[in-house]
């Protein structure tokens, strides 16, 4: 059963001069219990807008977001409905997302109290019951409960932010760049923790990151976003070993790894275009090495490329690929 379902979601902002900018231009994505879905893409591709729309922090201008079968409404002046508590967000910067003037236990307990009012029993996995259990779950000693955020390191704070999200017994956590403020060895600890929580508590996660290596490591499925659209969604392992969309290939080819000493990563030519005036047809065509006439005219739909694998590129169109194959033979 899908817990979080985004259908044709659009997010539009107004620029200062009144020009509308479609930061997210029609994205469909699902998250299942216990599944980590990675969302990768360059700065400015709309990942964070999508994350905010997915938890109702930003209103959608088109499409729907549904959580456990109910539509998620954008946050307004009213208190958030208790049913939506199961949809939690962990932000990038644990230095600004925790309240500096309250102890860890107070901040974590808030979520528990509200969860007890409404959501008890709906949690898909075994529920932790006390602040100390929650802290233990994220690998923090119980003394942490009495501390203030300034007394903790970055990695510890991000664990507190996670514990606070888990306090509401969520079925989905949206994580917006949860590891980028942390040191390498600490990143590994938190990445392992996320995988463990997804497996043990059956929490679904939408993991947004520009650190492709981490997404590769812990996500079950990965969606690649470019200029407001998903260009490829695939099982992570398959995506990494044989990406189909030219943009996915460029993105993965640009990662330097310790396995390839002395080989410079491939650079993608050109700049990300202005989302206010995206290119015609396929949004990636001005930077694509494989562009055809068709690409400048018509935007490719998402073609199926195997189980759970979708590619929005004309190269993946069965008609085009068979035509290419026959022209190569001739």
């Amino acid at each position: 059963m899908t817990v979080l379902e985004l259908t044709d979601v659009e997010v539009t902002y107004q620029r200062g001069d009144g020009t509308p900018v479609r930061a997210v231009a029609g994205v469909s994505l699902t998250v299942n219990p216990g599944e980590i879905v990675g969302l990768v893409g360059e700065t400015g591709c709309g990942k964070s807008s999508l994350a905010r729309a997915a938890c109702g922090l930003t209103p959608v201008s088109g499409g729907t977001v549904s959580f456990e079968g109910r539509p998620v409404r954008a946050l307004g002046a009213r208190e958030r409905p208790v049913e939506d508590l199961g949809l939690q967000l962990v932000m990038q910067n644990p230095y600004s997302s925790l309240n500096p003037r309250r102890r860890v236990e107070q901040q974590v307990a808030d979520g528990m109290r509200r969860a007890a009012q409404g959501r008890a029993g709906q949690h898909p996995g075994p529920a932790p019951h006390t602040v100390h259990e929650l802290l233990a779950l994220v690998g923090l000693p119980s003394e942490t409960a009495r501390r203030y955020p300034y007394q903790l390191s970055g990695g510890q704070r991000q664990r507190v932010a996670l514990a606070r999200a888990l306090a509401a017994q969520p079925s989905v956590i949206v994580l917006d760049e949860p590891l980028s403020a942390l040191d390498v060895s600490v990143q590994a600890q938190v990445a392992n923790l996320l995988r463990h929580l997804a497996d043990e508590l059956r929490v679904g996660m939408l993991l947004i990151s520009h650190d492709l290596a981490i997404v590769h490591h812990i996500a079950d499925r990965t969606a690649v976003m470019y200029l407001g659209r998903l260009v490829e969604t695939a099982p992570t392992r398959e995506l990494w070993s044989s990406p189909v969309h030219p943009y996915s290939r460029a993105l993965i080819g640009a990662i330097p790894t310790t396995a390839s000493v002395g080989r410079l990563p491939e650079a993608l030519t050109g700049e990300v275009p202005d989302p206010a005036s995206p290119p015609s047809g396929c949004r990636f065509h001005p930077r694509c090495a494989h562009r055809m006439d068709q690409c400048q005219l018509t935007e490719p739909p998402a073609f199926g490329h195997g189980s759970g694998w979708q590619v929005a590129c004309w190269l993946a169109d069965p008609a085009v690929s068979s035509a290419l194959a026959s022209s190569e033979e001739a």
């Binding site: 060895s185 990445a191 992570t236 990662i255 000493v261 993608l268």
Partner: protein, 330 residues
């Protein structure tokens, strides 16, 4: 290749604020050379002393710090001893630095053109028009679209990636012989990062630029660095050619660091985080600073600071136990 920079026994200490206590050692006995056309990598976690090493070489350490040792630049000037005019002749002209965060190292109220030409006119004695021509050329080299318009723009009008590339253009403006780059691509997308690594590589090959590249990302060092020094708690614990370090490192810390980064061949295998945290410089244990976190630690490790010993040509390691002597024991 001739050494452009010869650093011997560099030490940096900080007098504790408001206390009469013994000063705290931040960088301890660091020695290395950088040759023309070479990229030397300096790896380590935050707090390992990488950045302080760079700041000491640039002569821009914060107040209340003292340096010891020598850093001879181009066989003549000791960068640590230069003051006043003599320092200004080298700093920014023959030795340039790129910082991690372009948002705080660019001046927010001066145009890019001003920041890009000011030091060129001062150091190289260029006229207004010549400096402008050179600035356009530099912006083109770092792939800033529409360089003419960029010269009249302010830093806030650019994205983070573009700001970082502008900062690199500023550093390269006076055609330096040595570039000290402190995490130059950490804030950037992999696609942009790939472009910058290629640019640095080209400058090394074409103009014999020497680069001291400071980063925690071992993937980047694999791609571009010829040799790598690994620092831990203010000391160099291993140094070797990049290929040998990635496949046959001998220090337990280097090994642990390598297994805490995601590896493309090993998706979904749990990352191995390093237990514990690095010691604070005020509470460094006697002997090897890594010993409390090291699974191979013996009594000898706590007795005295292990010396960096040459294991083979170009490969030095500071570990008295040397558990990986006969290849990989894990």
């Amino acid at each position: 290749m001739t050494a452009i920079l010869d650093v011997r026994h560099l030490g940096v200490t900080v007098g504790q604020h408001g206390k009469q206590d013994k000063p705290v050692t931040i960088v301890d006995d660091v020695s290395f050379t950088v040759s023309r056309g070479e990229v030397l990598g300096l790896a380590g976690e935050s707090g390992s002393g990488k950045t302080m090493t760079a700041l000491a070489l640039m002569g821009i350490l914060p107040p209340h710090t003292q340096t010891s040792g020598t850093a001879v630049f181009d066989g003549r000037d000791d960068l640590l001893a230069l003051r006043g005019n003599a320092l200004r002749k080298v700093q920014g002209r023959r030795v340039a630095m790129v910082f991690q965060d372009p948002a705080s190292s660019l001046h927010p109220m001066l145009t890019v053109g001003k920041q890009l030409t000011e030091h060129m006119r001062h150091h190289l004695g260029l006229g207004k028009r010549e400096a402008r021509e050179r600035a356009l050329d530099l912006l083109d080299q770092v792939r800033i679209p529409n360089p003419r318009a960029a010269l009249g723009s302010y830093p806030h009008q650019f994205s983070g990636g573009m700001r970082q590339r502008i900062q690199i253009a500023i550093a390269l403006a006076c055609d330096p012989e040595l570039l000290i780059a402190d995490e130059p691509t950490t804030a950037l997308d992999v696609t942009i990062q790939a472009g910058i690594l290629r640019l640095l590589d080209r400058l090394c090959a074409d103009r014999g630029l020497a680069v001291l590249l400071i980063t925690h990302d071992l993937g980047i060092l694999s791609a571009i660095a010829g040799r790598v020094l690994v620092m831990y708690s203010g000391r160099v614990i291993e140094s070797s050619a990049t290929g040998e370090l990635m496949t046959g490192s001998r220090h337990p810390y280097t090994r642990a660091l390598l297994s805490s980064v995601p590896h493309p061949g090993a998706a979904h295998a749990s990352l191995v985080p390093i237990a514990g945290t690095p010691p604070a410089p005020t509470a460094r244990p006697p002997g090897c600073a890594f010993a409390p976190r090291c699974e191979f630690a013996e009594q000898a490790c706590a007795a005295e600071v292990p010396a960096l010993t040459l294991l083979a040509e170009g490969h030095a390691c500071a570990c008295p136990v040397d558990p990986f002597l006969a290849g990989d024991r894990r």
